[in-house]
């Protein structure tokens, strides 16, 4: 008689009722431009997503992972997109998707918390800047257009700050995420009682249903929800969606494919939901740092440095991969293990957003990333 689902839904409704709706009373907008930031929490593997198959060192260092390239979409002479992202591949063919590779924030250590803090605050080091760059972006927009929303129950760091921001939780909350379940397995490894109970719980769960399909549904629901929040003339102009499960220390092939499928599904649902407004929408997908180039002993990769980012939308000057490719040979790697960063994520962001919202690139960079020096916002990312 215990109904977990209805409990979860009730919890979500309670949150919405608690004030998110009332804070959604926005003024009428003058601009059509929308911006969506999809954060990949956990360090998504850029080399596994946008695969540098043309690099001579690639096949040897990635061995089994390289097999996925056979069915992926060939982007150019060097890169192939992971086969789990067919919709993004379609956007690439329509020149509405641009991949940026070997890109990184200024953060050079390998802690998720600190790395995400730098990615979200736009600081030079963790906890240096208190508010988020996405919140500061609001102060650059005309006052009556400065409306942002987090598609989550709580406010991510990137959106925190002095400008008021709404949050809206998805009405269908997921069951515990696969990544958390894997980590609980690790956590209980040394505890005989909990390990035995948990092993049984996981095997029961495995019998219970098609998780991949379930995950896809949730991702699509999130994409649709974001579209609904962005679509109305008086709706939000900026939205942020959080994704997880990218910290693939083990069994990366299956887990990365699952994560990319969800991401691809979410972006597609967002695009469909926005309809013609997609033409005025810019989507950024970025992660705190990349992963080791070499595969580790558990079929995964460990925390690394440079990663890949994505820009998608009707205005993106897509159909290309932007990279000053550093190479995968041992001598070319950062600290002999990671993809070497050759492009600054902050320059990508300030270049793309200034153009998208018709702002001055220098000023945009100075407001979004005040702690960083030698800014060079990249032009030509967005039409």
């Amino acid at each position: 008689m215990l109904d977990r689902r209805s409990f979860l839904v009730r919890g979500a409704l309670a949150t919405i009722g608690a004030g998110a709706m009332s804070r959604m009373a926005f003024a009428r907008a003058a601009t059509q431009r929308r911006f969506v930031f999809i954060i990949q929490r956990g360090a998504a593997d850029g080399v596994g997503t946008v695969m540098p198959v043309g690099d001579p060192a690639y096949a040897a260092i990635r061995h089994a992972f390289a097999e996925d390239a056979a069915t992926g979409a060939k982007l150019d002479a060097l890169f192939t997109l992971h086969p789990a992202m067919p919709k993004a591949a379609g956007l690439y063919r329509q020149r509405s998707a641009l991949f940026v590779h070997a890109v990184a924030s200024p953060y050079r250590d390998r802690s998720h918390f600190d790395g995400q803090n730098v990615l979200e605050t736009g600081g030079n080091s963790a906890y240096q800047v208190r508010d988020g760059w996405l919140n500061r972006l609001l102060s650059l927009l005309p006052h009556d257009e400065a409306r942002a929303i987090a598609v989550s129950a709580t406010m991510p760091v990137a959106l925190r700050g002095s400008n008021e921001v709404a949050s809206y939780a998805p009405s269908v909350l997921p069951d515990a995420s696969d990544d958390l379940l894997q980590r609980v397995t690790m956590l209980y490894q040394g505890d005989a009682q909990l390990h035995a109970l948990w092993s049984e719980a996981m095997s029961i769960r495995g019998l219970a249903g098609d998780e991949a399909e379930e995950n896809g549904r949730e991702a699509a629901a999130n994409g649709r929800l974001a579209a609904q929040l962005l679509l109305p003339a008086d709706g939000a102009r900026i939205a942020m969606i959080e994704t997880g499960g990218w910290d693939t220390h083990g069994a990366q092939r299956a887990r990365l494919a699952g994560g990319l499928t969800r991401l691809d599904t979410m972006i597609d649902a967002l695009r469909i939901g926005l309809g013609p407004v997609w033409q005025d929408t810019l989507v950024l997908v970025a992660t705190e740092f990349g992963r080791t180039v070499a595969v580790n002993g558990t079929g995964g990769t460990d925390h690394g440095t440079a990663a890949a980012a994505m820009l998608l939308g009707g205005n993106v000057r897509g159909g290309r991969v932007l990279a000053d490719w550093p190479g995968l040979a041992p001598a070319q790697l950062y600290e002999q293990r990671d993809l070497r960063p050759t492009m600054r994520l902050d320059d990508v962001i300030s270049g793309a957003l200034s153009r998208h919202f018709g702002l001055d690139p220098e000023r945009t960079g100075a407001v979004l990333f005040p702690a960083l020096g030698k800014r060079a916002p990249i032009s030509g990312l967005v039409a």
Partner: protein, 480 residues
């Protein structure tokens, strides 16, 4: 476990990051626990506004009056009890059903309000050890919120019969509990009629052969005082049930002996079986209410009761198989002090078995959820719905489904599905939590007691939210 962690988690309800840092010097943790005996507030702000027994009884009487009207207006067989009539029975008028549904919903709101108050009190309390004892005694003297009147009254039972007596004498708690309408209705005492009483002698009553209901008498002996198989027999149960006749809640249920609601317990002399009773070889010549009261007093000081209570308390603080030496110590403290509960609590605190460094208990769903919410400094709205959360976790508040209460052993609670539910709830609560660094929080919740495996898992989590979820299901959080 460090002594500070034992004090916070095994004796208390789990640490809150707002707590002051525990004093690591020897004895400080024991003093912190002991001081709560004197500091306990039976009626804290969290429960002060909740409807009291007499208000709820009037609501129940209103509801039952409406139900009677509906039944009268309808042809066909009559139910005995309002609750047993199914809505939608032939002939029931739609408006009447709707009216009754609303009234039923109103009664259920008393339950929701009381659960919320119980959770709020557990989150806000400065005396978590004392609050744990409230929960312990409420479960020892369990009612189960299944019959509608008990659903509405379960919270008032704990707040009015248990809380004021937690730092008093066992006998006073016993007398308050057995008089409370929730208990009288739950264990059918309100339906019991002495066959030789004035009411029982009425021709119509005698013809229907209604009489004694032994339920309460049996459970007092078996569960509340002596314990099962401690030497009483069926004759003792029946005699005790006779002594208890007349203890009732006027105007509720079948309204035996009195139709008007008085707002609480009454002794109705017309229902009382006259005569001297003999229970466990002792005779009780008292007349009226004093007779059963004298039985309760004798039961409260019986050595079997002392042993029974000692074993349950030792199980709660020192492990599923209570250490015999500790049981003997608590039993002696109980007997020596005439059932003075603080004396027994001090004996628990003084028992080395209750301070063993290894965790001794697997947290029940209730304990886990309260520890988690306290750890997150959460309030009620953060939990979504307190009633829903407890349901999801598999332990509905005040609804053990049996008069023996919820089990206090790991075997009942440590199951695969229960664990999965905790993981799911943890992720949800972590998602809703204000931003917290789980690595710092861990050392505040389990001072000096965070395992290397847990610390490593928190450090490697892919996001602060995930780290928090992992902390909430870490082995340290699952046990106390």
């Amino acid at each position: 476990m460090d002594e500070r962690s034992i004090a916070l988690n095994r004796f208390g309800l789990g640490a809150s990051p707002d707590d002051r840092d525990g004093d690591p010097t020897a004895g400080a943790s024991r003093n912190w626990v002991t001081a709560q005996i004197a500091a306990f507030q039976p009626n804290p702000r969290a429960i002060a506004g909740v409807a009291d027994t007499s208000t709820i009884l009037r609501d129940i009487a209103d509801y039952q009056a409406q139900a009677r009207l509906v039944r009268k207006s309808k042809p066909g067989p009559r139910g005995n009890d309002a609750d047993q009539t199914q809505p939608g029975d032939d002939g029931e008028d739609v408006a009447a059903i709707a009216l009754r549904r609303r009234a039923r919903g109103g009664l259920r709101l008393h339950y929701v309000e009381a659960v919320n108050a119980r959770v709020a009190a557990a989150l806000a309390t400065p005396t978590p050890f004392a609050e744990r004892l409230v929960h312990f005694w409420s479960n020892h003297f369990a009612v189960s919120a299944e019959k509608l009147p008990v659903v509405a009254l379960a919270g008032a039972f704990e707040f009015e019969a248990i809380r004021p007596n937690v730092m008093g004498r066992f006998v006073d708690m016993l007398k308050a509990v057995e008089r409370h309408p929730a208990m009288l209705l739950y264990l059918d005492q309100a339906d019991s009629i002495g066959p030789g009483s004035a009411f029982g002698q009425r021709p119509r009553v005698a013809a229907r052969q209604r009489g004694i209901n032994e339920n309460l008498a049996r459970e007092i002996l078996e569960l509340h005082t002596l314990g099962v198989r401690t030497g009483y027999d069926q004759a003792d149960v029946t005699e005790f049930a006779r002594a208890l006749t007349g203890w009732t809640v006027p105007g509720i249920g079948r309204r035996i002996g009195a139709r008007a609601v008085t707002g609480g317990f009454e002794f109705l002399p017309d229902l009382h079986e006259p005569g001297t009773r003999t229970i466990l070889g002792q005779t009780y010549p008292q007349d009226g209410e004093a007779q059963a009261e004298a039985v309760l007093e004798a039961l409260a000081r019986h050595p079997a009761t002392a042993r029974h209570i000692a074993a349950k308390l030792a199980r709660h603080f020192a492990g599923d198989d209570p250490p015999p030496a500790m049981v003997r110590r608590l039993e002696a403290a109980f007997l020596r002090s005439g059932g003075d509960l603080p004396t027994v609590y001090r004996a628990i605190i003084a028992s080395p078995e209750a301070w063993s460094a290894e965790p001794v208990k697997f947290r029940t769903p209730w304990e886990w959820s309260i520890a988690v919410l306290r750890g997150l400094s959460a309030n009620l709205s953060d939990s979504g719905s307190a009633v829903g959360l407890q349901e999801q976790l598999g332990q509905r508040v005040w609804r053990p489904g049996q008069p023996s209460g919820f089990d206090d052993v790991a075997a009942t609670w440590a199951g695969p599905d229960a664990l999965m539910r905790r993981v799911e709830a943890a992720e949800r609560l972590a998602t809703r939590s204000r931003p917290v660094d789980a690595r710092d929080l861990a050392s505040r919740l389990f001072p000096g007691s965070v395992s290397a495996a847990t610390a490593e898992a928190l450090k490697r989590a892919e996001s602060p939210g995930q780290a928090l979820a992992l902390l909430l299901v870490a082995p340290e959080m699952m046990r106390r």
